[in-house]
Structures are given as structure tokens and as C-alpha cells.
């Protein structure tokens, strides 16, 4: 369609020339001589070039018109490079920010599993405060067997441990799945076969399925992988199949390397039988014709019966807790998406923020385009005078805006990829999530859509206003007045949007500051956290020996002040809890008797720098054979013993009575926002239970960066025992930051965009004021000639600014108040309507506006009346 049109073009000239020559021939045939005939013909036809233009202008197919408009647009934009660059960059920033956030939204919230009919998958689970939890094996079995609205269900647990794969030890992520996993999902293997009922029979060697990623990494996609042996937890398996490359497991961000059938020997007794050992996640497929509501109702009925029977076997005290549990079934087309639960709210807030930034950029650009159209008035008037349609001109201007928006969108798209990857890393902050956030088809469609929308928002009004120009110059003055009013309206809009963004920024920064100021109860500076793992688990006798040896060796390293260990460290997600009886305290009926529980090594509190308020820490005296002791925290002591000393009192838990020998300050174990739990600590030498426990080791370094010690620690770990390896060595500052990662991101991005908004709005104010002062030079000159002082001139300008800022801030405040309800639950230490926040924001806006007004005000004050009066 294109090329024939271009080829036809020169032929119009040929056609017209033929017409003229035929006319000449006819004149000659009628009796004129050649010269006369030629003259007549030229007279009659006029300028052929003009005719050609007319013919070419005939409204044809829109594609050809568009290409013409595009080329004209490129030519025009190339002539004003400064403007074009600013405009393209503005679009790039606004569109790029939106695309970056949307890439994350698409990757985390909008994708479905690449399986058959993912919208028919439901997760059935216990609910903890509305969030999906886990279930026990007996409960899973009941769900699977008794819910009629599902055609199949499977349970799934994810572990990360060492396995022997084809003779080589590898640290892999493995998913343990029950029968029917692949059938419920509806997946076909890429090679070999997938797990089936045969793999759960005790007789044969069960198979495992590996992921395409692991096949690539470990075996280089070699076809000989099928049949290779795998040893996990001392059980033998064979690799029988590979899943397709698009399948990354049912936990987005946590792709498994291995999928292992949950055979009986892989489960401990507790895991298989205990009704309160909740370690599995359950996914089911709706039966044809069934609905989620039905499945949900059935799940709740079955769960109700389940907890009834659980409560009947439990103690009186525990019953309310058990019966208070909730369960449900809900759609899960994206599997067990922990990421979505965690970051969807901040992401949505960020989308709102970058949407406002784009709007701001568009309004700003509108102003710029308007000013530019003003400069092209001559061109527009001429084109209108020679007959161009107004619609045609508007289309031309919109095409220019489209070129700018598209260029910006392209740049934005390219940089968004990098930004969204960085942002994702910030959000997960060290936790191992492996998710691809590169643009998918949704992102491309989104980019195109907002490019077009921004083009229209920014470019339509200036285009319409520009062609309203009347050819009569006398009316030009009136129009300029209107232009000024519209320009100021744009600035007020920009100020309002900025106000909302600045309020948001202040709220997020304030939240972060408040969170940072929370007393953590320990000092993370200079602390190194060491976590170890072993290929083979240690026996119950050997484990404590290794653990204590490791601790002793760590403590004696040069550069180390003290070292200790515990099961749970502060700010890493909470504590175990246990029911207790406290000497001299009577629990009210219905009062929970659970307290936080932690097992620690000697010198724990001095290593963490948690103040010891009374008594002593655990030390070498406290062995397995000596008196059972415990240390409690402030909250515990205050709650159970009021003003009396806790030292010497007794606490009983799981049948063991301990004497309290120390009281320590409260520390935050769950996270920075949660309240402190009443906590009791026991020494690791006195821990009951046969299974070896896992500990994290914490080391206080004397000075400098704790990470420096990592290589030394790694070697030391290997020295203590050959089967022991270093898993991670992290400095505590990083862990504390992780606990605040969302708040830090919101503060950083919110602050960045807030600042950007102020700058953009300030530029808008500056532009309009400069324009006004220039336009009113005459008037200002007259005033000064009549005796007004320069200060009064400045006053005029400032009154202007004050009016705009006042309007903008007011509208912005209303908008912010309406919107802050959305961010209420990620705030801390502030409410969404805190007047101090709005005051700070208003002051920031006013200061920026004043700064922007400084130059125009100075210019107004410096107007020389004589020069001004001569300036027409």
C-alpha cells in the first residue's frame, strides 16, 4: 500500500502534463499557432505544481496521510531540538516509571501457572489472620477425600537441602509432593515421564522429576539424564522425567530443581500423623461445573469437624485457640504466591504514585506544547488562510505529540527492564526469590496504551487551542489573555498533583524514620550471623558436641569479642511458643498461657548487647545435669510478677520446671512493628527432646566490617567437622534492613518522586511567571513611572504565586486526604491524616514556589520604565 502510493506521485505531474499537451493540440487543431496555443493552455491551466498539490491533498487512506504527517512531524521536531529532547525525556520518565512498576505487577500478580485451565485451581488451607497458612497431613487427607467439588488435590512442601545427584553432592531445592501432583495440574513432560501412582508404592525405586532449569545447569540438557540415581535423606530415587521449560513449580519465585514423591519414609511420624503439625500446602482442581464457593463451603464444614475432634483431645486451656482457627478455599491460578501476598499492596501504591507522575509530566508538557504553539502562530494562521482544515492541523499536532510520546515510550521501555529488575531485588532483599521480571506481552500492550493516552492528554488541548487562532490579528490580544489563564490553570494542576506526591513522600519517610527509631532491644552493629548446614544430619549424641565446639572456636577467633548461638535471632521472624505454668500466678479463664520460647547458648545476651536487668546469663554451670534454669524478659517478669523480683521463681513448661536466674530487656523477635512477646529462654544444654536442633550463631566483632571475617569463619567451620559447611554469613545490619525493606523502598521511591514532582511543579510556576512578567512589561513600566516602588512590583508577582500555590495546595490536600486511606496500613508512627505531615508538605511546596518566583520577581522589580514604555 505504501510503495505504490509513492510511485504514483510523480505520475500526477505526468498526467497533468499530458492534459496540457492535449489542450495545446486541440487549440492547434482549432487553428491557433503553437505559440498562441501554448500561451492559452498555460493561462487556462495555471500552475501545474499547484494543481498537483491539490490532487495530492485529496483525502486518501489514513495510512498514507499518517506517513505524511509523521514525516512532517519529524522535520518540525528536528528544528527545535531543545524542546524535543525535554519533551521526549519527560515522556520517557513518566512512561518508564509506569512500565517498570507494571512489569513487577505483571510478574507478581497477573501471571498464571503454565498448566491446564489455571483458573480452575484452588488453594485449600488454614487461614492465619486472613493469610494462607499450612495444613497437616491428616487434614490434607480429609480435604482430598471428602470435598466433592474438587476432582483432585495434592499437598506440597518445599525443602532446600543437600542431595546426592548422579554421585555428586548438590544443594538443591526440592518439592515433596503427594500423588496426583502432575495430574491435578495437567502437565505434560518435556522428556521421560512425570510422577504417577507407581512412584508411591513402597516396593520399587521411586522416580523424581527434574526441572528444565536444573537439567540445563547440571546436565547441559543431555538426553542421558533419565535413569540417573538420586539420593535424598538416604533414600534412593531415579530421575524419570523433565518438566517443560515454562513450568517453574507452583511457588512463583521459588522454582524447584527436583520434584520428589512424598513417600512414607520421607515423612517423620509427627509429620504424617500429628494433626497440629502444619507443614503442607494444598492445591486442588475444581470438578467440572463446581464453583469456588461450593469448595469453600465444603472446606469450612470439614475443617469445623476436624478442629472439633482436635479440641476434644486437647486440654481445656487450648480449646479456644484450636476452635478459633479458620480455613477456606480460594482461587489460586498462580499457585502458592507468597510474593503477591507480601508486596502487592506496596506495588499498587507505587502504581498510583507513578501514575500521578505521568499525569504531572503530561500536564507540564501541555504547558510546553502550548507555549510552542504560541510561537508557531504565524505558521498556523497562514496554513488556515490558504485553506487547511482545522481538523487536519489538529491531526498534525497530535502526530507530533505521538512521535514524542513514542520516542519517550521506547526509551522508557528499554530502561524499565533494568529498573524493575533492580526494584525486585530491593523488595526481596537477599531472600532467594528467582523471578523473571522482563517485559511480557502484557507490558508491551500497557506501554503502547499509556503512550497513546499520554499523547492525547498532553497534546490534545494545546492542539485544539492553537487552531482556534483567528486569522484576524486584532483578536490576538484577547486570545493571549485566555492563554494566560489556561496556562495558570495547568500550573495549579501541577501544584495539586505535586502536593499529593509530597504528602505521600513525607508519610513514607516519616514511617521509615519512626520504624528506625524503634528500640530493638539489641545492638546489631558489628554482629555477624553465621548459619551452617551439614550434608548428613548428626546423631543426637554428636550434634551438641559439634555445636559447642563451633561456638567455642568462633569465640576464640582474633577480632571477635564474644560468640553465642540460639534457635531464633531477633528480627528473623518470631519465636516458638509454649504453654507455661508460672509459680504464684493464676491464669484467668480464657487467658492464653502461651509465651515465646527460645533456646540459647551462654553469653547470648552480652553478644547481642541486650541489657541484663537482673540476675545472670547462662554459663558453664548450666549443664544437662544441673538445676534447670531459665531467663525471662522484662515483659514476662512484669506480667507475671508485677513489682516483685522474678529471680528465684519457677516456671514450668512441657513438664519441666525451671528456676529463673536472670531477667533481660525486651527485644524485637518477630519484626519491628509487632508487640513484644513475653519470652522465656533456656540453655541449649538443657533442651529436652532427642532430635538435634538447628542453631544460628552470632558473633560480635571488635571493630570494622563483620563480613571481613567470612572467609576465616568458612575455614573454621570446615575445621570443626568435615561434614559441616558454611551456609550464610550475614552482618546483622543487613538483616535489620531486610526487616524494613518495604518501608525503605517506599521511602526512597516516594521521596524521589516527591522531589521530582516539586521540581517539575516549580519549573511550571517559573515558566508561567516569566511569561506573565514578560507580557506585562508594559504595564509594569507604567506603574513604576507613576511612582510604584520595585517592592510593589515584586509584591505583584508574589501575589500571583501565592494565589497559584494556595489553590494548588488546597486541591492537593483534598486529593491527598481522599487517597491516604489507601496507604493506612503500611504507615507506622503516623496516621494518614496527621496535620504535621500536611504542614511539612505545604511548606515544601511554598518554598519551591518562592524559589521559582525569585527570578521573575527580580525581573519585575528591575523593569526600567523608560525601556518598558517603548516596548510595545
Amino acid at each position: 500500500m505504501w510503495w505504490p502510493w509513492r510511485r504514483r506521485d510523480p505520475r500526477i505531474a505526468d498526467e497533468l502534463r499530458f492534459h496540457r499537451e492535449s489542450l495545446i493540440d486541440d487549440y492547434i487543431a482549432a487553428g491557433m499557432d503553437r505559440a498562441e496555443a501554448t500561451r492559452r493552455a498555460f493561462l487556462k491551466l495555471g500552475n501545474l505544481a499547484h494543481l498537483e498539490e491539490d490532487v495530492r491533498d485529496v483525502r486518501g487512506r489514513w495510512l498514507e496521510d499518517l506517513s505524511r504527517d509523521l514525516r512532517y512531524a519529524f522535520r518540525t521536531l528536528r528544528r527545535s531540538p531543545g524542546f524535543s529532547i525535554i519533551a521526549v525525556l519527560s515522556f520517557a520518565l513518566g512512561i518508564g516509571a509506569n512500565v517498570a512498576i507494571f512489569s513487577l505487577v505483571s510478574a507478581v500478580m497477573l501471571r498464571s501457572l503454565p498448566v491446564r485451565a489455571p483458573h480452575r485451581l484452588v488453594q485449600i488451607t488454614r487461614l492465619l489472620e486472613g493469610h494462607p497458612g499450612q495444613v497437616s497431613y491428616p487434614l490434607f487427607a480429609q480435604f482430598r477425600d471428602q470435598i466433592k467439588s474438587i476432582s483432585g488435590a495434592f499437598a506440597n512442601a518445599s525443602v532446600t537441602e543437600a542431595a546426592l545427584i548422579d554421585g555428586q553432592e548438590d544443594f538443591v531445592t526440592a518439592e515433596l509432593v503427594t500423588a496426583g501432583y502432575y495430574q491435578v495440574l495437567g502437565l505434560e513432560p518435556a522428556a521421560g515421564r512425570l510422577l504417577g501412582p507407581a512412584d508411591l508404592q513402597p516396593s520399587s525405586t521411586p522416580g523424581v522429576v527434574i526441572s528444565d532449569g536444573y537439567w540445563q545447569r547440571r546436565f547441559g540438557r543431555s538426553p542421558t539424564v533419565l535413569g540417573k540415581p538420586v539420593t535424598l535423606r538416604d533414600r534412593a530415587f531415579t530421575i524419570v522425567g523433565v518438566t517443560p521449560p515454562s513450568f517453574l513449580g507452583v511457588r512463583p519465585g521459588q522454582p524447584p530443581d527436583l520434584t520428589v514423591p512424598l513417600i512414607d519414609s520421607l515423612m517423620s511420624d509427627a509429620q504424617r500423623r500429628a494433626t497440629d503439625f502444619n507443614w503442607l500446602r494444598v492445591l486442588a482442581r475444581l470438578a467440572p461445573g463446581a464453583t469456588v464457593t461450593q469448595a469453600n463451603a465444603e472446606a469450612q464444614v470439614i475443617f469445623g469437624a476436624f478442629v472439633e475432634s482436635q479440641a476434644a483431645h486437647a486440654s481445656e486451656k487450648d480449646r479456644p485457640g484450636i476452635l478459633g482457627q479458620r480455613a477456606g478455599a480460594f482461587r489460586a491460578p498462580d499457585g502458592f504466591n507468597v510474593l503477591r501476598d507480601n508486596i502487592s499492596q506496596p506495588l499498587m501504591i507505587l502504581m498510583g504514585i507513578v501514575g500521578l507522575i505521568l499525569l504531572l509530566a503530561c500536564v507540564n508538557l501541555s504547558g510546553l506544547l502550548l507555549a510552542r504553539a504560541e510561537m508557531r502562530q504565524r505558521e498556523i494562521s497562514i496554513r488556515l488562510a490558504i485553506g487547511a482544515g482545522r481538523g487536519r492541523l489538529v491531526r498534525q499536532f497530535l502526530t507530533e505529540s505521538l512521535v514524542l510520546a513514542s520516542a519517550g515510550a521506547l526509551i522508557g521501555l528499554l530502561s524499565a527492564n533494568w529498573v524493575s529488575a533492580w526494584l525486585f531485588r530491593m523488595f526481596v532483599n537477599g531472600r532467594s526469590f528467582n523471578l523473571s521480571v522482563s517485559p511480557d506481552w502484557r507490558v508491551f500492550v500497557f506501554t503502547a496504551a499509556i503512550a497513546i493516552i499520554s499523547c492525547v492528554v498532553a497534546g490534545l488541548t494545546p492542539a485544539l487551542r492553537a487552531v482556534r487562532a483567528n486569522v484576524n490579528p486584532a483578536l490576538k490580544e484577547v486570545r493571549a489573555q485566555g492563554q494566560g489563564r489556561f496556562g495558570r490553570g495547568l500550573v495549579v494542576t501541577q501544584l495539586a498533583i505535586s502536593m499529593v506526591l509530597v504528602v505521600a513522600a513525607t508519610l513514607f519517610v516519616g514511617t521509615l524514620l519512626a520504624l528506625n527509631a524503634v528500640d530493638r532491644g539489641f545492638d546489631p552493629e558489628g554482629l555477624l550471623v553465621v548459619r551452617v548446614r551439614s550434608a548428613q544430619p548428626y546423631s543426637a549424641a554428636r550434634a551438641p558436641v559439634v555445636q559447642q565446639a563451633l561456638r567455642d572456636r568462633l569465640a576464640s577467633l582474633p577480632g571477635v569479642a564474644t560468640a553465642s548461638a540460639s534457635q531464633m535471632l531477633p528480627l528473623t521472624g518470631g519465636l516458638w511458643d509454649r504453654g507455661v505454668q508460672v509459680e504464684g500466678y493464676l491464669f484467668q479463664p480464657g487467658e492464653p498461657d502461651h509465651v515465646g520460647f527460645n533456646v540459647i547458648a551462654p553469653a547470648y545476651f552480652s553478644t547481642l548487647a541486650t541489657p541484663l536487668l537482673a540476675g545472670r546469663e547462662f554459663d558453664e554451670r548450666d549443664t544437662a545435669a544441673s538445676l534447670k534454669v531459665a531467663i525471662v524478659n522484662e515483659s514476662f517478669a512484669r506480667h507475671f510478677f508485677r513489682n516483685q523480683s522474678a529471680i528465684g521463681r519457677h516456671v514450668t513448661s512441657v513438664g519441666v520446671t525451671c528456676e529463673i536466674v536472670g531477667v533481660v530487656a525486651d527485644a524485637k523477635y518477630q519484626d519491628l512493628r509487632s508487640d513484644i512477646m513475653k519470652t522465656m529462654y533456656i540453655p541449649w544444654t538443657q533442651r529436652e527432646g532427642d532430635q538435634p536442633a538447628r542453631y544460628s550463631y552470632v558473633v560480635r566483632t571488635v571493630s570494622g566490617d563483620p563480613q571481613r571475617l567470612s572467609p576465616t569463619v568458612e575455614r573454621l567451620v570446615g575445621d570443626v567437622d568435615s561434614g559441616l559447611h558454611l551456609a550464610t554469613a550475614t552482618d546483622y545490619d543487613t538483616i535489620v534492613n531486610r526487616a524494613m525493606s518495604t518501608e525503605r523502598i517506599m521511602a526512597a521511591l516516594g521521596g524521589f518522586f516527591g522531589l521530582l514532582a516539586i521540581v517539575v511543579a516549580g519549573l511550571g510556576v517559573f515558566g508561567v511567571l516569566a511569561f506573565q512578567v514578560a507580557r506585562r512589561t508594559n504595564e509594569l513600566g507604567v506603574r513604576m513611572a507613576l511612582g510604584a516602588s520595585p517592592t510593589a512590583m515584586v509584591g505583584l508577582v508574589l501575589r500571583d504565586v501565592a494565589a497559584m500555590v494556595g489553590a494548588g495546595v488546597t486541591i492537593g490536600t483534598v486529593g491527598a486526604l481522599a487517597a491516604t486511606g489507601l496507604v493506612r496500613n503500611i504507615l507506622f508512627g503516623l496516621t494518614a491524616t496527621d496535620p504535621r505531615v500536611f504542614l511539612v508538605a505545604a511548606i515544601a511546596m511554598a518554598s519551591a514556589a518562592l524559589l521559582a518566583a525569585w527570578l521573575p520577581a527580580r525581573r519585575a522589580a528591575r523593569v526600567d520604565p523608560v525601556v518598558a514604555l517603548r516596548h510595545e
Binding site: 505520475r11 499530458f18 492535449s22 485529496v58
Partner: protein, 114 residues
């Protein structure tokens, strides 16, 4: 040179051109001559109206253009009506006849005929 006063005639012009081409394919100059001929000098189509009209008709697919060599050994673009063009001509002619009959009746009405 989009002359507003000929916008009404422009519509009629399309019809006239289509009719001419439906009878016989010819080039732009020939169409102008033929129209002048048949209308006995009433319609003298100038090039400024004729060629944009031809362009429009061609773009709308109602006529088709083809470069050929004339008797005088010159290259000229010959147009012919397409099937769509003929159908449109039929419709337009019908409408036109209905309109003209109605106008004629109104113009010939005497006070006695209500």
C-alpha cells in the same frame, strides 16, 4: 483551492465522471472534453476540479487507472469504472432521478394544486 461553492457540484461531478467512464474508458482530458460535448457546453470542468475528483474516485475504488499509450504515441493514464463504481452510479442515478422529479413537481405547482 477547495472551493466551497462547488461542493454541491462536486458530488454531482463524481456521478458525471462515473457515467462517462461507465460508457467508455478514457483519460482525464478526454473526460473533460466529453462532458463539455454531451452537456452542450453547460459543464466546463476545469482541471482543478477534475483531477482531485479522479483521485478521490480512484482511492475509493470506484474507478481504476492504467497507463497506456495514446494514438499520438504519448503516455496517458486511462480510467475505467469498476464494478463497485457501476453499482454506485446506479444508486446515485436513482437518487438523482427521484430528487429531480420531486423538484420539478414543486416548481411546476400552481396555486390551484395543493
Amino acid at each position: 483551492m477547495s472551493d466551497k461553492s462547488t461542493s454541491l457540484v462536486q458530488g454531482t461531478l463524481y456521478m458525471l465522471i462515473l457515467k462517462t467512464l461507465a460508457l467508455e474508458p478514457m483519460h482525464g482530458y478526454g473526460i473533460g472534453v466529453r462532458l463539455e460535448q454531451i452537456s452542450r457546453g453547460v459543464f466546463q470542468v476545469n482541471a482543478g476540479s477534475l483531477f482531485p475528483a479522479l483521485r478521490r474516485l480512484e482511492r475509493d475504488g470506484l474507478i481504476k487507472g492504467e497507463w497506456r499509450v495514446t494514438e499520438n504515441n504519448r503516455r496517458a493514464k486511462y480510467y475505467a469504472a469498476t464494478a463497485a463504481g457501476r453499482r454506485k452510479l446506479e444508486r446515485e442515478t436513482e437518487d438523482w432521478e427521484v430528487q429531480t422529479r420531486a423538484i420539478a413537481r414543486i416548481l411546476r405547482a400552481t396555486p390551484s394544486e395543493q
